[in-house]
Symmetry: D2
Subunit: 331 residues, 4 copies
């Protein structure tokens, strides 16, 4: 084949292609009337599990991208924003997190960030979809060490069933679930009864719960973010919503952290604990970043404080999209 | 024609169309490998001035959208974020802004926000492109009152030439210019010599200069934001960069505010002055919002403080796109 | 506004726009995995009738385009191919066509072509959708004369009901209906019983029936073309399928002509009759063109002769798409 | 990994994916204002040779597709139309073709069709781009036998140089070159002087030359088809243009066949020779198909007979697109 440049086994393209450069695109309908499109280098892998359709794409603007049920989950170049925001606030606010439970998180990046905390002795990652976990373990090199860390216990199960079956408590429980989309596997894990009856009883003293909470942009925060916030407020004394813009998501993203102990550290405290407890250097998160992220804009603050809806199984809210979990339930 | 719903002279569509709903799209290449697409209701107007190509579109996700040289300038549903952020911080930090100069601003929204300030006695808006100004005056109903306000002086001229020709000083000078794109009319108004020799001499005591400063996302801030910040730091004692996510831009946007007087108000001070001085209610901006907006994330803070490039005419940086100002120069 | 070029009341854009040129697109899913996209000048009109969604677009590659239920019906630059092929063969093969009935045809182009025939004394055009007819009468200037011709009788009714209610016979009956799409208003007018019980009894001696028959490409002809052909073969002695590539449809299109009298003219005969009977010059159709159009390729000929399916109301076939006629039936 | 369906080393995808189905697209600008888009299964290979950018895509609507310099060359599901039309007419009209020369043809499909002719003793395929040939030999299984046929002589060279260097003559010379696009490697092989000084002298008595001749649709035939036809008319006594709609090209395609001996077989003669000489069954071509293909529509016939332009190196015409051959020449 001479010196022709082709994609090799690892999916890397070694030559930039002029004529071809912009011919192949990944396209996502973020909303019905809004599309976000990435030029593609290649389609690395695609597959269908009993729960979800999955794909790993090599995109030009954001590197490798994991797509589940037609929605971008995580992109190589900026997943650090999402995962640092999901993990570090709760672990730093906790006086000494030893045992952490991840609901979902099959991609491995959440475990990777948790395992950077020196205090952590045990991470239980509970994902329902074995095939997604295996897919990510095989293909996402950046998380390879995390998957091999002896402190990681990997459980394939429904997070609700798993938490119910356990007696031990956790210092931090992290919800790294797919968004609550209609037909998706996860919306039942955003309800009041789940938080009250399953999550809270499994938190140790000073325990903190944090969950990803969907889009939190100036308009999009009313889809599920304000409602997840309001639902958690029914159950926990202290609830902190925060957000950050994630370029590959074309939106500001939200997380909500909740506890019965107050969150009372300054930016400087957070920086100090970061230095003491976290191995390596954060790329996105530090004390000031958290000050900014947890200080919501006027419009979002107002509609969060006006939110009255509480998530229950009978009164769910969904973001745009449709999942394939029915396939499994119908089996 | 019976009760058929069609577009009328004013370009309004009165019926939502199912089969047709997603057939027509506006598409922008934000970067070479990244596209952002809005479903369209209609194309209200298009035109070409000697300086720029302009279009007014009615989009489904963001309402009416003004597009100049193929780049979205402003969308009906979220332009308030951009314009409140551009105008209110500088006018509130100033002890009593009476005379304000807008470089560019032909759309009218910047004048609209300035004119809400009760202290303001005179707004000079200087845009080079008469046709864009007329286009917006005719089509953007939301700014109709601003265009009629007796405190507004509208000048059609190059902002540099206009400022040079004036003797009077301004309390606040606002740069509401198009991004510095190659071939566009504006990049010379982002240079060190322009700030030093033209802008600063026209500021009265305690005067404040603020400019829109391009994309300020975690990756995109290195295109021009960090450089505009660093350029202003060469000239002014106090420089405050801040940013906010604007959904229709698919990015976090940046502004930089600069003065030789310190910016030393708390969030509460800003809220008090807002109440005292601004007519009507802000939708986006308040003291806490500014705290968040002016507290940049770790990554952006670091690269701003590491930036060494200074904008000069011989060493400009451009964002993705290409303008049509050559047309004018070639005439 | 100076010399700025903008769209005026009639929707014409007077200036080509460089920067803006390729920002707005019409996009049609020809099949689920196949898209056909035209750059747009403007969206002239949109509307929803009780039967169908309609839009008139000004496209760059094909001029004004009529879109019904999200599917392109007709484009200014090449509708002559479709309408010359639909009308002229049957009218020329008939010894002396005086009375012609159009099922559908609300656009007016079919009537326009028929009215060019000097022998024709009466054209009855029967369309179910008054609003589409009025829309086209107002907006399609090219058909304005046809709509005013005293030989044209315009009836708003279901074509089946109208034909049933009439006693008189027609020399040629032309099916200019929308494609048989699921949920669309037309699929019942492609069935065996309709042809046998309604159409044939209303044909005078030597009468000819012709219908548009959907896509007829090397793969797409099996969607409905072969089946319409086979259905007509059950009812008429002589059946002639023919086809032509229509660029704006991104496909070869099909028509089927049927009679109990033989079709026995040569290409030269057709050219002679064209000269004697048709006012003005055809752009697409002549004798040789018909020789080519009615000589199908090996693959299509074989699958037409192997087709066994007959269209009945209980066993319809549909092309890709979904209509909105339910709206009407549910009222 | 359980039963998850993923792409394996050979790039095959074994499962259809619902949620993922329409996320990835190949997009080609057929003209500046016209796009043709195929949903993608995968990007099998991409590469850049010194002459051209190449890609092999697995598309949903048309199977595997070979793309060179951003333009679709050939798609698995309908390449038989192009290649049967290119090869069989000239070989069947020739009384007994033994030696055939292919200019270009690196894909291998042209050789495959030629080698089905029992009379053929030697096929010389001369392509300038070794890497494309190797790429196709490796990846296009359908042509594997052709590449191994002992009657095939494969030469890597410029077709002009190769023909000049040879003394022997050929019964049929076939131009299977890329379209004449600006900057592409092939436009010099469509000129009058090339046909006169290089091609014609290398044809044996009764020899036939045939070339692919670009788009031949009702509008697109004026790009290069009419001009190639007119250029060949200057050099050969008998010239036959013909065309066929190729779905994946979204257009009718053209070929021109030329000789100093007359083309005087009927459809029945062609069918008889097909039966006698060609192994296996054609899918597209037979006598009637050729009657249809070589009987052009009125509009195309007229503009071919009115064409006055003759292709010379100094007065070339190009179709939309831009090649990368400069890269090579600059080396």
């Amino acid at each position: 084949m001479g010196d022709i440049s082709v994609s090799n086994g690892s999916g890397k393209i070694s030559s930039p292609l002029n004529g071809y450069r912009k011919s192949c695109w990944y396209e996502e309908e973020i909303e019905e009337n809004l599309r976000w499109c990435f030029a593609l280098n290649s389609i690395l892998h695609t597959g269908a599990t009993p729960y979800q359709d999955i794909a790993l794409l090599d995109t030009k603007p954001f590197g490798k991208a994991l797509v589940i049920d037609g929605k971008l989950q995580s992109a190589e170049t900026d997943e650090f924003i999402y995962h640092e925001c999901l993990v570090h606030p709760s672990l730093l606010f906790h006086p000494s997190p030893k045992a952490v439970f991840i609901m979902g998180g099959g991609e491995g990046s959440t475990a990777r960030e948790i395992l950077r905390h020196k205090t952590v002795e045990k991470v239980t990652m509970c994902d329902i979809d074995e095939e997604v976990v295996e897919f990510c373990r095989s293909h996402l090199l950046v998380n390879r060490n995390a998957f091999c860390d002896p402190r990681l216990e990997l459980v394939i199960n429904d997070a609700r069933a798993e938490l119910e079956s356990r007696n031990a408590c956790f210092d931090v429980i992290i919800g790294d679930l797919a968004d609550p989309i209609e037909g998706g596997p996860c919306y039942k894990l955003y309800t009041r009864s789940f938080y009250e009856c399953i999550v809270k009883p499994r938190l140790s003293q000073n325990g903190i719960f944090v969950t990803q909470a969907g889009p939190a942009g100036i308009f999009s925060h009313t889809e599920v973010f304000s409602c997840i916030y309001n639902t958690l407020k029914q159950i926990f004394k202290y609830v902190v919503p925060y957000s950050a813009h994630i370029p590959s998501f074309a939106d500001t993203w939200g997380w909500v952290m909740a506890s019965d102990s107050p969150f009372s550290l300054t930016a400087e405290d957070l920086d100090l604990r970061t230095k003491q407890r976290i191995k390596g250097e954060n790329r996105y998160f530090d004390g000031k970043t958290f000050t900014s992220a947890s200080t919501l804009s006027k419009a979002v603050r107002q509609s969060l404080s006006n939110e009255t809806h509480v998530y229950t199984e009978g009164a769910a809210r969904f973001i745009y999209g449709y999942g394939t979990a029915d396939r499994h339930e119908q089996e």
